[in-house]
Symmetry: C2
Subunit: 221 residues, 2 copies
């Protein structure tokens, strides 16, 4: 039940990559981790024997339920430290990630749970991303940024991250408001723009900047 820094970095990357496509390829993961495809294959075999990964040679991979639980633990640590760094140590939001990248690997449960309590059980890190609780659950009513929603998942607009007139104008034009039902159909690698379906039928393309400012909740159930 204890994983090396290297294993943890692989697990976390797989978790993030599979949000986009459901399955992760060797080359994608190698690029993300700045390593070589052959090294990825080696680690995949290892994580498979540890039952953290569904993996068939040549077919890509996905985390198992166990793997997902481990990933959420790492993400919890990462985001709690980011919150601490920004809130208490006065790092700016763009500096916290690099430091949290190291702190996340100190995996003492009592430390993290006490840190969580000390920080007042924050719901989101300084980038707006949700912080899993001690059981690895993300509050079901929790607001998530639209780019973090998996494809083909129906959800509901719950808020925006800033109140500028420019943003509100754009939202009005796209007919997106609190309560709008929304589903991401496709994400374009090139500029992170995405095709969404809102309401009953209308299909629309929105920029990454816009998507980042839309918060949603998953639908009940």
């Amino acid at each position: 039940m204890n994983y090396s820094v290297s294993e943890e970095n692989y697990i976390k990357s797989i978790f993030h990559l599979q949000k986009k496509e459901g399955t992760v390829t060797t080359n994608e993961l190698a690029a993300e981790l700045k390593t070589r495809p052959a090294s990825v294959t080696d680690m995949m075999k290892k994580l498979k024997t540890k039952k953290l990964l569904h993996y068939q040679p040549y077919k890509g991979f996905r985390l198992t339920a166990d793997g997902t639980r481990v990933a959420l633990g790492i993400i919890r640590r990462h985001r709690l430290w980011e919150f601490f760094l920004a809130e208490k140590l006065k790092f700016t939001w763009d500096e916290v990630h690099e430091v949290a990248e190291e702190l996340e690997h100190v995996s003492n449960k009592k430390l993290i749970d006490k840190l969580d309590a000390y920080l007042g059980f924050p719901k989101n890190d300084p980038h707006g991303d949700p912080i899993p609780d001690a059981n690895g659950k993300i509050d079901p009513g929790k607001k998530i940024r639209l780019p973090d929603v998996p494809l083909q998942t129906l959800c509901t607009v719950a808020g925006v991250r800033n109140q500028s007139a420019e943003l509100l104008e754009l939202l009005e034009n796209k007919k997106i408001k609190i309560g709008t039902r929304i589903e991401v159909r496709k994400k374009f690698e090139f500029d992170q723009s995405m095709e969404i379906k809102t309401g009953k039928q209308s299909i629309n393309t929105i920029s990454h900047q816009l998507a980042e400012n839309i918060l949603i909740t998953y639908d009940a159930g």
Copy 2:
């Protein structure tokens, strides 16, 4: 200028061990780190090529000035985290060491200096040990526990760690009071008792419990 977790653990252990005897032996260090003498020899060669160590085969080793600087950086990180864990996260003093043992290896200077500031530049960790400042200096007027003083180093009694009648009675009997000049002559492994010279000539043996409660400062210069 960046060292592995393993290198750091070796460096820190050498620093602590050489306080007692000035020089450290292979077997001592192997016992301390729960590893084998052969592994120690390998690492000593490596630290020597990095100029952190004075080392002649069969002759034991000592940190160089560079090695000492590195050691003080690790000790600074360790003790600041211990202070944080006790003061902010409400760990008890006997729980902090184990967690700090991991956190000390996250060596981001900005992180540590901001943590120091956030904590209000504490002078001592929860065990009473002094915390080196950002330059690796221990406040020259800082109070150190007598067991942490190297052998044959003249220093001055500056305080005690508790005010119980029992302690004061013993101190009076041994003729130790604030301002007494004191020098540790010998430490006995068996019970950590030590032979000290106080004032002009009197040689005396004191227990570890007593020594731990005597705080000293180094003499000027």
